[in-house]
Symmetry: C2
Subunit: 114 residues, 2 copies
């Protein structure tokens, strides 16, 4: 007997999730990453600005996420010469290319007031 958890398939092949889509949504959706990317899509920011722009996120987690986003090639860390030394974060071309997706998510969030 087929139950709710049966692996039986309906007519037609089971749709398979594209692994690149899956990786993308897991990357952007990782806790706080979307918020960081969205803030940086406005303009390059310094660490403190990001910390202010995304309330509720600890500095420790912000550091970690920035390192991850840098490693994924979405965020670029720039040391501005001078005294005092300043570090700013900006989106790479790959990161900025997420803008249409983030914009659609923003539209959806505002429409449905999640």
């Amino acid at each position: 007997m087929a139950t709710e958890h049966s692996a039986e398939t309906a007519s037609g092949a089971t749709p398979k999730v594209c692994p690149h889509f899956h990786a993308a949504v897991e990357l952007v959706g990782k806790r706080w990453s979307g918020a960081i990317l969205s803030t940086l899509s406005e303009r390059p920011c310094r660490f403190g600005e990001l910390s202010h722009g995304v309330p509720g996120m600890s500095d420790r987690l912000l550091s970690q996420r920035l390192r991850e986003l840098e490693a994924e090639g979405l965020v670029e860390r720039k040391v501005e010469p001078g005294a005092p030394v300043r570090v700013s974060y900006s989106l790479t071309i790959k990161g900025a290319d997420l803008d249409p997706a983030l914009r659609e998510l923003r539209v959806w969030g505002q429409r449905w007031k999640t």
Copy 2:
């Protein structure tokens, strides 16, 4: 002296993340949720089909995510009458309205091969 972690702001107000966007990205980005929504955007699926469509996800976690997405009003659970009883999952209007965002993420994922 300003350090990397200084809260000092640059010229202009710090961009603040829209709370609705933040909620949306955290919802869609929760582990496996994007993959489930993407699979259901193809057509309604039964539990076993979803389990096959999203390899690597345990049935326990799939059950949990489906309940969460149902509670958020993105997924509808329908019991099809008959013997054996069949349960299918489909997107609500709110869930289907995520399609443009998921499509953009798919385009991005395929372009950048994340």
